[in-house]
C-alpha cells in the first residue's frame, strides 16, 4: 500500500508538483485579502501550468533537442533521443502572456492604490459602499 | 379557391404602414389629417377592389419573404379575412373624421403621435386579416399589441400608466406565454403553420395534446377578451374615445376573435374539433363569458366601462358561433364581426360626443340628456338596438344566424344562453336611452336646449347608425363573404 503510493508519487512527481502549485495559487487568489498577494497567487497558478507543460516534454534518457548531425549520408534523426521541444516553445509564448497579464494587473493595482490609498480588499469594498 | 398572385394585400397594409413617415414630416394639422383621409380612403379602395375577385372564388396571395425554411411571411386574402378587413378599413375613415372632432374639441396633446400609431394599428389589424399562416398572424398580432400601447396610454398620467401596464400584462403575457409555445408545438407536430380548410393538426396530435393546444391558443389570444383574460379591456377605456371606438370595439378585439376563429378553423379544422368534441369546451367557456360579462355590465356606472363589458360579452358570441361548428353558426360569427362593429362603434362615438359636449362620463349623470343631445342619443338608441339584436338593425341578422346555428348543432342550452344574454343587453342599454328622454324635468340634469357636440363628433355616429340600419336591409357584401367563407371552411354550401 505504502509502496504503491510512493511509487505513484515518484513516478508522477511532475503532476503532483503542478497540482500542489496550482492549488497554492488558487488559494492565494481566493483567500488573501491583499490585492498584491492575489496577484502573486495568480502568477503562481500560471507558473504551475507552465511547469506542467515543460515537464511533459521530458523523456527518460533523452538529451537536448539540438540536432548536430544532419544532411545526406548521416544517420536518421532519432526522436526518442531528444526531449520534445514543442512544449518549451509554447511556454515561451505562455510566459509572455503571463508577464503581460502581470503587468496589467500590477498597473491596475497601482491605480487602485493611488485612488484609494489601500490594497486591502475589505477596506476597498467598505470605501466603495460608503460612497 | 384558385390562388392568384396579387400585390394588393401588401399594398393595403403598406398604405397604412407608410403613413407615419408622411405624418411626421407634415407640418400643419390640416395636412396631417388630409393625409390620413387619403391613406384610409386608398386602403378601403384597394380592399374593396378585391371583393369581386374573392366573391368569384379566387384567393389573392403574396409572399413577402421566406423567413424560416418552409415558413414564409405570406399574405392570403380569403372571404373571411376580406370581410374583417373591409369592416376595419371602412370604419377607419369614419373614425378619422370623428378623431378630428374629438381631438380638436378636447385640444389633446401629441396628435401627430396619435395619428401615427392609429395608422400602424390599422396596418397590423389588416395584416392579421390577410395572414396566410400562424407565424404571419402572430407577427401582426404582436405589432398591434405594441402599436396600441401609446394610444391606450395617450394621456400619459398615472391612470394611463396603470392601465397600460394591465393592458400589456394581459395581452403580452398571454401571447408570449401561451401562443408562442403553442405555435411552436403545432409546428413541431404538423411541420407547417399554414391555415388550410381542413386544419393541419388532424392525424398529428392526440386528444389531450389537441385539447391543451386549443386551450393555449383560445386563451392566448387575449385580445378576444374571453374570461378570465378580459380585465384589460375595461382598463383600456382610459384611452381617448376614438381609440376605444375603433380599436377596443372593432380592430383590436376583433383581431382577437378573428385569430381564435382562424386558428380553430385553419389549424385544428372543424371536422377534427367536432370529432374530438372540443367545440363544446370552447362553447362553454364562451357562454360563461357571455353571461358573466352581461351581468357585470349591468352594474357599471361608467358609460365606457359598461360598453366595454358589453363588448366582452359580444365578442364571445363570435367565439361561440365558431365553436358550434355548424354552417349557420360560423356564418353568424363572421357576420357578427361586422354587425357588432357598426353597432358598438356608434355607441362609443356617442359616449365620446357626450364627453366632449358635457364632460360627463357616468350614466347616473345623464338623466335627461336626450333633450340636450337628441341627435347623439338617437344614434345611441339605434346602436343599442343593433347590439341587442333587434330589427331593423344589422345586429338582428347576425344574431338570427347564431340562433339558427345553435339549432343546427342541436344545442338548445346555447340557444337559451344567447336569448338570455339578449335580454340582459336590453336591460343594460335601454334604461340609458329611457332616462335620457323620459324623465321629469325635476330629475333632468340638463336644460331642455340643444347642446350638441362639435359637428365632427356628431356626424360619424349618425353615419354608422344609418349604416347599421342599412345593413339590415342590405347585408351584402358581408353576407355573401360570410357564406363563402363558411362554405370554404366547412366544405358545405
Amino acid at each position: 500500500m505504502w509502496d504503491d503510493f510512493v511509487r505513484l508519487a515518484v513516478a508522477k512527481a511532475n503532476y503532483w508538483i503542478y497540482i500542489v502549485l496550482m492549488c497554492i495559487g488558487l488559494w492565494g487568489m481566493i483567500v488573501k485579502g491583499n490585492l498584491v498577494k492575489k496577484i502573486i497567487g495568480m502568477n503562481i497558478l500560471q507558473t504551475a501550468i507552465i511547469l506542467f507543460y515543460v515537464s511533459i516534454a521530458s523523456k527518460a534518457g533523452a538529451t537536448l533537442p539540438i540536432i548536430t548531425h544532419h544532411g545526406p549520408g548521416t544517420d536518421s534523426i532519432q526522436a526518442v533521443g531528444h526531449i520534445n521541444p514543442l512544449p518549451h516553445v509554447l511556454m515561451l509564448t505562455a510566459i509572455v502572456v503571463a508577464v503581460a497579464t502581470l503587468g496589467v494587473a500590477l498597473a491596475l493595482a497601482m491605480r487602485i492604490h493611488r485612488d484609494y490609498g489601500t490594497l486591502e480588499e475589505d477596506e476597498l469594498l467598505a470605501m466603495m459602499r460608503e460612497k | 379557391m384558385t390562388p392568384v398572385l396579387s400585390v394588393k394585400p401588401l399594398l393595403a397594409i403598406l398604405l397604412a404602414l407608410g403613413l407615419p413617415a408622411v405624418l411626421v414630416s407634415s407640418r400643419s394639422a390640416n395636412l396631417r389629417e388630409a393625409w390620413t383621409f387619403g391613406a384610409a380612403g386608398a386602403m378601403l379602395a384597394v380592399i374593396a377592389s378585391m371583393v369581386p375577385a374573392v366573391l368569384g372564388g379566387a384567393c389573392l396571395e403574396w409572399t413577402l419573404v421566406s423567413i424560416l425554411p418552409g415558413l414564409a411571411l405570406q399574405l392570403r386574402v380569403d372571404a373571411f379575412g376580406l370581410l374583417f378587413a373591409l369592416v376595419s378599413s371602412s370604419l377607419w375613415i369614419v373614425t378619422t373624421l370623428y378623431s378630428i372632432g374629438y381631438m380638436r374639441g378636447l385640444q389633446e396633446h401629441s396628435q401627430t403621435r396619435y395619428y401615427c400609431f392609429f395608422a400602424l394599428s390599422l396596418a397590423a389589424a389588416v395584416g392579421v386579416a390577410f395572414s396566410a399562416n400562424l407565424l404571419t398572424l402572430y407577427l401582426f398580432y404582436e405589432m398591434l399589441s405594441f402599436a396600441t400601447y401609446p394610444l391606450v396610454t395617450h394621456h400619459q398620467d398615472g391612470e394611463a400608466r396603470a392601465s397600460g401596464r394591465k393592458y400589456l400584462a394581459y395581452i403580452l403575457g398571454a401571447s408570449i406565454g401561451l401562443v408562442l409555445p403553442a405555435m411552436l408545438m403545432v409546428h413541431h407536430l404538423a411541420g407547417t403553420l399554414d391555415f388550410t380548410a381542413q386544419g393541419i393538426l388532424d392525424g398529428h396530435a392526440g386528444t389531450s395534446q389537441t385539447a391543451a393546444l386549443l386551450v393555449m391558443l383560445v386563451f392566448g389570444f387575449a385580445k378576444a377578451g374571453i374570461m378570465p383574460l378580459h380585465a384589460w379591456l375595461p382598463a383600456a377605456m382610459v384611452a381617448p374615445t376614438p381609440v376605444s371606438a375603433l380599436l377596443h370595439a372593432v380592430a383590436v378585439v376583433k383581431v382577437g376573435v378573428f385569430s381564435v376563429v382562424r386558428v380553430m378553423s385553419g389549424i385544428f379544422g372543424a371536422d377534427f374539433l367536432a370529432r374530438l368534441h372540443l367545440g363544446t369546451l370552447v362553447a362553454v367557456v364562451a357562454s360563461i363569458t357571455i353571461i358573466g360579462a352581461s351581468l357585470i355590465a349591468l352594474s357599471q356606472d361608467g358609460l365606457k366601462r359598461r360598453l366595454a363589458f358589453s363588448t366582452i360579452g359580444q365578442l364571445s358570441y363570435i367565439v361561440l358561433g365558431a365553436a358550434l361548428l355548424s354552417p349557420s353558426g360560423l356564418s353568424g360569427a363572421m357576420l357578427h364581426i361586422a354587425m357588432h362593429a357598426f353597432g358598438k362603434i356608434t355607441l362609443f362615438f356617442c359616449a365620446g360626443a357626450i364627453f366632449v359636449a358635457t364632460g360627463k362620463k357616468y350614466i347616473s349623470e345623464m338623466k335627461g340628456i336626450g333633450w340636450a343631445m337628441p341627435v347623439t342619443m338617437g344614434a345611441f338608441f339605434i346602436g343599442a338596438l343593433s347590439v341587442i339584436g333587434l330589427p331593423p338593425c344589422g345586429g338582428f341578422i347576425s344574431k338570427w344566424y347564431l340562433l339558427m346555428g345553435t339549432l343546427e348543432a342541436d344545442r338548445i342550452a346555447l340557444l337559451f344562453v344567447i336569448l338570455a344574454s339578449s335580454i340582459l343587453n336590453a336591460a343594460y342599454f335601454l334604461p340609458i336611452v329611457y332616462q335620457a328622454f323620459f324623465c321629469s324635468p325635476a330629475e333632468s340634469r340638463f336644460e331642455r336646449r340643444m347642446h350638441e357636440a362639435p359637428r365632427w363628433c356628431v356626424v360619424p355616429p349618425v353615419v354608422t347608425a344609418l349604416a347599421s340600419v342599412g345593413l339590415f336591409f342590405y347585408p351584402q357584401p358581408f353576407l355573401a363573404l360570410a357564406r363563402l367563407a363558411t362554405g370554404a371552411l366547412l366544405g358545405g354550401p
Partner: protein, 496 residues
C-alpha cells in the same frame, strides 16, 4: 490578395494598433482614420470570406506557408465565416458610433483607447478564424488583456472591477491551457482538425475526459456562465460606455463560439453529448442561468447593471441550446450568437449614449427620455423588442429555434425558462419605457425647475446606432437564408 484574407483580418488591426501607438507621439489626430480604415478593411475581408465560403465551401490558410499539423492553420468554414462577419461589423459600427464620445471622455488618452480597441478586435477575430488550439489561447489572452486595460479606462471603481476580471479571466484561460495540455499529451497535436481525427480512437481514455472537463470549465468562466458570472456585472457596469458596447457584444459570444467549436469540431458530438451525462446537467445549469439572470436583472435600478444581468441570462440561452444537442436547438444557439451580438451592441450603444448625454445611467435619469432623445429611444425600443423576442426582429427567430428545440426534445425546464425570460424582458423594458414615457423630466435641485432640454445625440453618433437597429430587423428577415446556407452546413451530420 484574396487568399490572404484570413490573415489580413487579424494582421490589419494589429498593424494599425502599432501604427496608432507610434502616431500617439506625432499625430494623435490621425489615429481615428487609421483605426476606422483597419476595421473597415477587416470587415471587408470578413465579408469577402463569407461570400467565398458560400460559393466554394470551407477553405484553409496556412500561416507562413507551413502546412498543419506543424504550422498554424486558419480554417474558415460556414460557422466562423458567419460569426466573424457579424462580429467585424459590430466592431466597426461600434467604433463609428462611439468615437465622439470617446474623444470627449478619454481626452489625450483616446489614442490608447483606439490602439487597445484594435488589439481587442484582432484577438477576437483571431479566435474566430484559428484552427489551432494553442494559438487560440494566445489570441484569447490578447483579447482579454486588452479588455482588462480597456475596462480599467473607466470610472474610479473600474480598476478594482477590472482586477477582479483579471483574476477570473486568468483562472479561466489557465484552465483552458491546462486542458489543451492534456489533449496534447494524448494526441501529440495542437491542430484542431488533427486532434479531431485522433480523438475518436482514444475517447475512452480518462485523460481525454479530464481534458474536456477542464477545458470547458475554463470556457464557462470566460463566458460568465452562472454561477461563474460574478466578474461580468461589475466589470461591464464600471467600464466606460464606448468600451462596454465593444466588450459586451463580443466577449461572451466569442467564448460561446469557442465552446461550440471545441465541442463539435475537436471532440465529436458523440463524445460531447453522449459521454458522462454532462449534457443534461449543463442544460439545467443553463436554465438556472436564465432564471437567475432574469430575476437579478429585475432587481437592478441602474440601466447598465440591468443589461449586464440580461447578458448573463442570454448566455444561458446559448449554453442551453448547445447542450441540448439536437439540430434545431443547435441552430438556435448558433443563430443566437450572431443575433445576441447585434442586440447587445444595440442596447449597450443606447445606454452608452444616454449615459453620455444625460451624465448618468440610473433609471431616474430616463424621465422624459422619449421627448429628450427620441431617436435614441426609438433604437432602444427596437433593441428591447428584439430581446423580448417580437417578430420580425432577429431575437424572435433565435428564440423560435431555441424554444422549438427545447419543446421538440421535451425539455420543459428549458422551454419554461425561455418563456419566463421573455416575459421578464418585457417587464424590464416596459419599466424603462414607462419611466421614459410617463414621468416628467427630473426637476433640478433646490426648486430650480430644469427645462425640458432636448438632449439628442449628434447625428454622427445616431447614424451608426440607427444602422445597428435596422440591422436587427434585416438579420431577422434574413434568418431563412442564414439558417439554410450557413448554419445547416456548419452543424455536423452526426447531430440528429
Amino acid at each position: 490578395m484574396s487568399v490572404h484574407y484570413p490573415a489580413l483580418v487579424v494582421v490589419m488591426p494589429v498593424v494599425a494598433a502599432l501604427i496608432i501607438a507610434i502616431l500617439a507621439w506625432v499625430h494623435p489626430s490621425r489615429a481615428l482614420p487609421v483605426a476606422v480604415a483597419a476595421l473597415a478593411a477587416a470587415a471587408g475581408a470578413a465579408a469577402m470570406m463569407l461570400v467565398r465560403v458560400l460559393a466554394h465551401g470551407p477553405f484553409a490558410y496556412h500561416l507562413g506557408g507551413w502546412p498543419p499539423p506543424v504550422g498554424i492553420a486558419y480554417e474558415i468554414d460556414h460557422l466562423n465565416a458567419l460569426v466573424l462577419a457579424v462580429m467585424a461589423a459590430v466592431a466597426l459600427i461600434n467604433l463609428l458610433a462611439v468615437w465622439p464620445q470617446a474623444e470627449q471622455r478619454f481626452a489625450e488618452r483616446t489614442v490608447f483607447f483606439y490602439a487597445l480597441y484594435l488589439l481587442f478586435c484582432a484577438g477576437t477575430f483571431g479566435i474566430l478564424v484559428t484552427g489551432d488550439a494553442f494559438n487560440l489561447f494566445v489570441l484569447l489572452e490578447i483579447t482579454s488583456i486588452s479588455g482588462y486595460a480597456l475596462i480599467g479606462l473607466g470610472r474610479r471603481d473600474a480598476a478594482l472591477a477590472s482586477l477582479n476580471y483579471v483574476f477570473m479571466g486568468t483562472i479561466g484561460a489557465s484552465l483552458y491551457l491546462l486542458g489543451i495540455g492534456y489533449l496534447y499529451l494524448v494526441t501529440g497535436s495542437l491542430n484542431m482538425a488533427d486532434m479531431a481525427a485522433i480523438l475518436p480512437r482514444i475517447q475512452d481514455s480518462r485523460v481525454v475526459t479530464a481534458a474536456f472537463i477542464i477545458c470547458m470549465t475554463g470556457l464557462f468562466m470566460k463566458m460568465a456562465l452562472f454561477p461563474l458570472h460574478g466578474w461580468l456585472p461589475n466589470a461591464y457596469s464600471q467600464a466606460a460606455g464606448p468600451v462596454c458596447s465593444l466588450i459586451a457584444p463580443l466577449t461572451t459570444k466569442t467564448m460561446i463560439y469557442v465552446m461550440v467549436r471545441i465541442g463539435l469540431y475537436v471532440f465529436s458530438p458523440q463524445f460531447t453529448f453522449g459521454r458522462l451525462d454532462l449534457a443534461r446537467a449543463m442544460v439545467w445549469l443553463a436554465v438556472m442561468a436564465i432564471v437567475f439572470g432574469s430575476l437579478t436583472a429585475l432587481a437592478q435600478t441602474n440601466l447598465r447593471r440591468m443589461l449586464c444581468y440580461v447578458v448573463v441570462a442570454e448566455v444561458g440561452y446559448m449554453v442551453g441550446g448547445f447542450w441540448l444537442g439536437t439540430r434545431t436547438a443547435m441552430t438556435g444557439a448558433i443563430l443566437h450568437i450572431v443575433n445576441d451580438a447585434a442586440m447587445t451592441l444595440c442596447v449597450f450603444l443606447v445606454v452608452g449614449t444616454i449615459g453620455h448625454q444625460l451624465k448618468s445611467d440610473t433609471f431616474d435619469t430616463l424621465r422624459g427620455a422619449f421627448r429628450r432623445m427620441p431617436w435614441t429611444m426609438a433604437v432602444m425600443v427596437v433593441a428591447g423588442l428584439s430581446l423580448i423576442g417580437v417578430p420580425p426582429t432577429c431575437g424572435f427567430f433565435s428564440k423560435w429555434y431555441l424554444l422549438g428545440g427545447a419543446l421538440a426534445a421535451g425539455h420543459w425546464g428549458l422551454a419554461g425558462a425561455l418563456v419566463f425570460s421573455s416575459l421578464v424582458n418585457t417587464l424590464l423594458f416596459f419599466r424603462i419605457f414607462e419611466i421614459a414615457y410617463f414621468e416628467p423630466v427630473n426637476t433640478g435641485n433646490y426648486g430650480h425647475a430644469a427645462p425640458l432640454r432636448y438632449a439628442e445625440a449628434p447625428p454622427a453618433m445616431l447614424a451608426p446606432m440607427i444602422a445597428a437597429a435596422m440591422g436587427l430587423i434585416v438579420l431577422g428577415l434574413l434568418t431563412g437564408e442564414i439558417v439554410t446556407r450557413l448554419i445547416a452546413p456548419a452543424i455536423p451530420a452526426a447531430i440528429p
